[in-house]
């Protein structure tokens, strides 16, 4: 635990907020088209219609905002998932949300010729919700209820199922492949502010609800029996947390496509900074998640310039070593 008193934590929170705003600005300034900080400032105060100004306003700004919100939502969803399932490797990605959203989008594109990113948003949201609910239901049936192993395998199974269906549909329809390939990799590029606006209410509701639920999550993390003994309605809290996760991860996938590993990595970093109190972990995870995705997105522009690596691939590259580290360290005494 890095920050021990709540005074330090407040200061840390403010510093992280400033850092996040700084990174968002950096995301607006740096990229393939050369722009300067001054130019970015002028684009908002004194818009003159040059290419650079248009790029800043219509491409870079939405991109920065989307990266920040998506990163924050995924990280918070990751915290809830990990507590909910008592599995430090839980994340929206491992739980089939991404595969479900991907499948829904591919179905829409190849069978119903849906073409706009705007429409993808809702369809992906739906697919993500269906997949998450089925993983949750399958993982929690049976005598022992929700066990980490069962849930992980159920998630992998559902993900495998949806991705083979996606694969099959794409083989039959090459045009659809071309259309959705970039979406399937996960990217915050080329989205409009309207895309964000249409799901932002759900994400915001998810953030607020996560904060409200955070003291209850502290109790839940002590274990099912203890939580019940302390008078917590565990079923209701789990259900609530599940719904929040669906809102947050479904919304994030809907805007940006499947972006993995943020939900696994960031909660661990947040816990290393502020300990296990969810009232602190959740906001910290949100800020750190936003920062991580902003950084990954900026890096994705530079690695193989002029082409861009989808940010989903970037996060996978950063996240896998971390995932393996945690898996090796073991959990729950295993």
């Amino acid at each position: 635990m890095l920050l021990k008193t709540s005074g330090q934590r407040w200061v840390g929170l403010v510093i992280s907020m400033v850092a996040m705003i700084f990174l968002a600005c950096a995301s607006i300034v740096y990229g393939y088209t050369e722009t300067s900080w001054k130019m970015a400032y002028q684009a908002f105060t004194d818009f003159n219609g040059t290419n650079e100004h248009i790029i800043i306003e219509s491409v870079r700004l939405p991109r920065a905002l989307i990266a920040a919100t998506v990163g924050a939502s995924l990280a918070m969803a990751g915290v809830l998932m990990q507590t909910l399932t008592k599995n430090p490797l839980a994340s929206p990605g491992i739980f089939g949300v991404n595969a479900g959203a991907g499948f829904a989008v591919v179905v829409a594109v190849s069978l119903f010729s849906v073409g706009s990113l705007q429409a993808y948003t809702w369809i992906a949201f739906l697919g993500a919700a269906v997949a998450a609910i089925s993983v949750y239901v399958i993982g929690s049936t049976g005598r022992e209820g929700l066990t980490p192993m069962k849930l992980t395998l159920a998630g992998a199974a559902i993900a495998a199922m949806f991705s083979s269906f996606t694969q099959g549909l794409l083989v039959l329809n090459e045009a659809a492949l071309e259309q959705v390939l970039f979406w399937l990799a996960g990217s915050v590029q080329g989205r409009k502010l309207e895309n964000l606006a249409s799901v932002f209410p759900y994400l915001l509701a998810g953030w607020v609800a996560a904060m409200i639920l955070s003291p209850k999550m502290n109790v839940l993390s002590m274990g099912e029996d203890v939580a019940k003994g302390l008078g917590l309605n565990t079923g209701l809290v789990k259900l609530g947390a599940g719904i929040i996760v669906i809102f947050l991860s479904g919304g994030a996938v809907a805007i940006a496509g499947p972006i993995g590993f943020i939900g696994i990595v960031v909660p661990h970093v947040a816990r290393a900074v502020v300990g296990i109190d969810h009232r602190w972990v959740i906001p910290y995870a949100g800020l750190l998640g936003g920062m991580l995705l902003l950084v990954a997105d900026i890096a994705a522009r530079y690695i193989i310039m002029p082409q861009e690596i989808p940010v989903g691939v970037m996060t996978a590259l950063i996240g896998t070593p971390f995932f393996i580290y945690i898996a090796r360290k073991g959990f729950n005494g295993r």
């Binding site: 495998a160 039959l172 691939v313 898996a327």
Partner: protein, 351 residues
Amino acid sequence: MRKYRSFRALNGKVSFLVDQKAVNTILVLLALVVLLLILSAGLGEMKISPLSVLQVFFGGGTEMDRLVVQSFRLPRIIVALLVGMGLAVAGGILQGMIRNPLASPDILGITGGAAVAVVGFLAIFSDENNALIVSIQWLPIAAFLGALVVALLVYFLSWKNGVSPIRLVLIGIGISTLMQALTTLLMILGPIYRASQANIWITGTVHGTNWSEVRVLVPLIITLLAVAIMMARTVNIQELGDEIATGVGGRVQRQRFLLLLISTALIASSVAFAGGIGFVGLMAPHMARRLVGSAFGALLPVSALIGGILVMLADLIGRTMFSPLEVPAGVFTAAIGAPYFIFLLFKTRNQ
């Protein structure tokens, strides 16, 4: 009461209990395989009666029939059979070793590694006009190496005073996610038709197989299957869990490594020629368990035959149902496999 016969050879190095019921099941399945082979060789764009197919097998038949059956259909049918067998046995071994009925080649990332190798191969060995500069014959080798490298990677990353099954699964899942990301990346960077080419491979198909591939695959798979069946009894011991397995005198880690090696080799050679045909390795052992119980001496041959039948059937449906369009066999194995998977998840919920 079941009738068992014991069978020993090589001074007790190889020993089985043979169950009379299992032998009967195997014979019935063998007959089914032969039947399906004849039927499948006759069906397609050009229909040939089973009788004429038999004639062709024994050296007769019209020239046209001979051409269609021998050059076009037979190689792919044989490859489908062998690939199905390989994947099913590998799946059975993994399930026994990991002691989880839901383990499969796909989940451990082995198939994913082969996919990256294939996409990478297509990307690296193409010139500016997107024509391959080396023969496509090398593709299986790339896939084989990819699968092998990733399997070893997963194994060594899971090593920490020995390899525990749960760590193997978790790290496998992590690595396969990474492999997926890399595959997507390589597909995006290349031109779209290459992505499409790679995608067909990832889904899994035996389309366009020729005899030279069969000649490589037959000895490979048959040797590996023989070794797998000889190792069957060590899978039985692995299934008891680490403590008991050590207690009854099994060298747990060594056997685990050998078993993983065999299943990796089986998966690698299967996907090398047929791509990532999914769910067979998962389904076939379960169906086999229903038929003959879970003693591996009987389970492995039965699941091999079931796996072969599944892939042959998927290929037959794939090339006849939407004719003239060819649907990769992998689509159908997924279509049958996925609902079966969910059924299994529900069934095993109390374990």
